[in-house]
């Protein structure tokens, strides 16, 4: 009896020591008690898949095919060379910001330019552009002082204010110089909304 409780006490101390309290940081995958259907044979978003040769679950369209809802890029348009598919459905002004080879000005007719559109633009601008260009667009974002080459990214000066809407759209889509493209994170509609908000910032700055 005495021995039993002595051993039990030692075992309890050892177990408590081994399992430790809840919430301790650890790096091995969590233990699964009954992993019955936890991992099914399906592809989850952004996850690898052993089914394909390159191991990637997210597939690109097979060469020569076009996903439903997208349009074939028209040959001979320079923008298409860089654009892949780009969330784009074609080469209209709405999708490219270009008329032929020139930046267009004004907004595509399909957009409804109302207060909600501008509010959306403001929200997206403050999420995506503010870190570099600053809240007012003056180029003094928090990140800009860390750049090895100080970037010239004042959006409300006379030079950028003179740019047509299509050019700003094109810059967001493809990047420019040191600025990378944001087509992967912003839908076409949101990009136009941001353009509208940038224009309103420029107007507020008197340009």
């Amino acid at each position: 009896m005495r021995w039993f409780f002595l051993i039990l006490a030692i075992a309890v101390v050892a177990t408590v020591y081994a399992i430790g309290p809840r919430g301790v940081k650890f790096s091995d995958p969590p233990f699964e008690l009954f992993p019955d259907m936890d991992h099914q044979y399906r592809v989850n978003p952004q996850k690898p898949s052993g089914f394909f040769e390159d191991g990637q679950g997210s597939r690109k369209p097979i060469e020569g095919t076009v996903p439903v809802g997208f349009e074939l890029p028209h040959a001979g348009n320079e923008a298409d060379l860089t654009s892949d598919l780009d969330f784009s459905r074609g080469d209209s002004y709405f999708d490219t910001g270009l008329f032929g080879d020139f930046y267009g000005s004004g907004y595509p007719e399909t957009l409804e330019l109302d207060a909600a559109f501008l509010a959306r633009g403001k929200q997206r601008f403050q999420i995506t552009c503010t870190p570099c260009h600053g809240n007012s667009g003056n180029g003094a974002g928090v990140v800009s002082k860390y750049w090895a080459i100080p970037p010239s990214a004042n959006l409300i000066d006379a030079r950028v204010s003179a740019m047509p809407e299509g050019q700003i759209f094109w810059t967001i889509t493809h990047g420019k110089g040191l600025m990378g493209p944001y087509n992967g994170v912003l839908s076409v509609n949101d990009r136009w909304a941001i353009v509208a908000y940038v224009k309103s910032l420029q107007a507020a700055a008197g340009n």
């Binding site: 039993f4 809840r22 301790v24 790096s27 978003p45 403050q126």
Partner: protein, 253 residues
């Protein structure tokens, strides 16, 4: 014939019961404590290919979660950013472009790098709902449930870890009392938000615009109640008509 059972056997049954009881209690106590997601998952902090620091990017630099997790409002899946998103800031001539910590990024993006593979960075997934349960980010985020309710204060974590158990009972605890979690929609990604940051008059006029009740009546109804999460949450729940599902088929579809 003498006594077959010696004297010491008198207490044997009781002793055995006592020992078995003590052993059983200990085993159950240990299992209770450690065979639950509160123990098995909370604190999971895997080694990531790049030591990416949320407390720097989201905390100190103040970047919005949606800069990187850009489709969390539109999709059931909250995406981990592509290498391009990092590259826009960490590319050549930009921020810390030759830091050794960013080697996997250069392998994914920099065609001039000797180890270029063009393969995506293999981030290790931390939070995972089993495949038989359905979870949707956009429903929660668009209904005023902030990231902090489910992921903890990510903006203060140098390395992200599993902060909540994410068990079924945990999901249901909130689905039964959603008012403990609801907040205005523009503060979803502001993890440091507290009810005191909210302007009371703005809030009442917002709720009255949503519900059609006058702001004065709402204020009168709340007299004597303390301004805080429960009050804000219950108003928002009414205003948005929030009814989180509790039937099995909602999550096990």
């Amino acid at each position: 014939m003498g006594n077959i059972f010696p004297r010491w056997t008198n207490l044997l049954a009781i002793k055995v019961l006592l020992c078995a009881g003590a052993l059983g209690t200990c085993v159950i106590a240990v299992a209770w404590y450690s065979w639950t997601p509160k123990y098995t998952r909370v604190g999971y902090m895997p080694q990531q290919p790049i030591p990416f620091d949320h407390s720097l990017h989201a905390g100190q630099l103040g970047m919005d979660c949606r800069y990187c997790h850009s489709f969390v409002e539109d999709s059931l899946h909250s995406n981990v950013p592509t290498a391009q998103v990092c590259w826009n800031c960490h590319g050549p001539g930009k921020v810390k472009s030759d830091s050794p910590k960013l080697e996997p990024l250069r392998q994914a993006m920099d065609e001039n790098s000797e180890n270029y593979t063009g393969k995506p960075i293999e981030w290790v997934q931390i939070h995972k709902v089993p495949d038989y349960a359905y979870f949707n980010h956009s429903v929660h985020v668009n209904r005023g449930v902030s990231c902090v309710e489910c992921h903890g204060k990510v903006n203060e974590m140098p390395v992200v870890f599993h902060a909540e158990p994410m068990s079924m009972s945990w999901c249901l605890d909130c689905h039964r009392n959603p008012e403990k979690a609801l907040r205005p929609l523009d503060q979803i990604t502001n993890l440091d938000w507290t009810p005191d940051d909210l302007d009371q008059d703005d809030f009442y006029s917002y709720v009255s615009a949503q519900t059609g009740k006058s702001a004065e009546d709402l204020k009168k109804g709340d007299e004597g109640k303390e301004w805080g999460q429960d009050l804000i949450g219950s108003h928002l729940q009414m205003a948005w008509d929030v009814h989180p599902p509790q039937d099995c088929a909602a999550c096990h579809r």
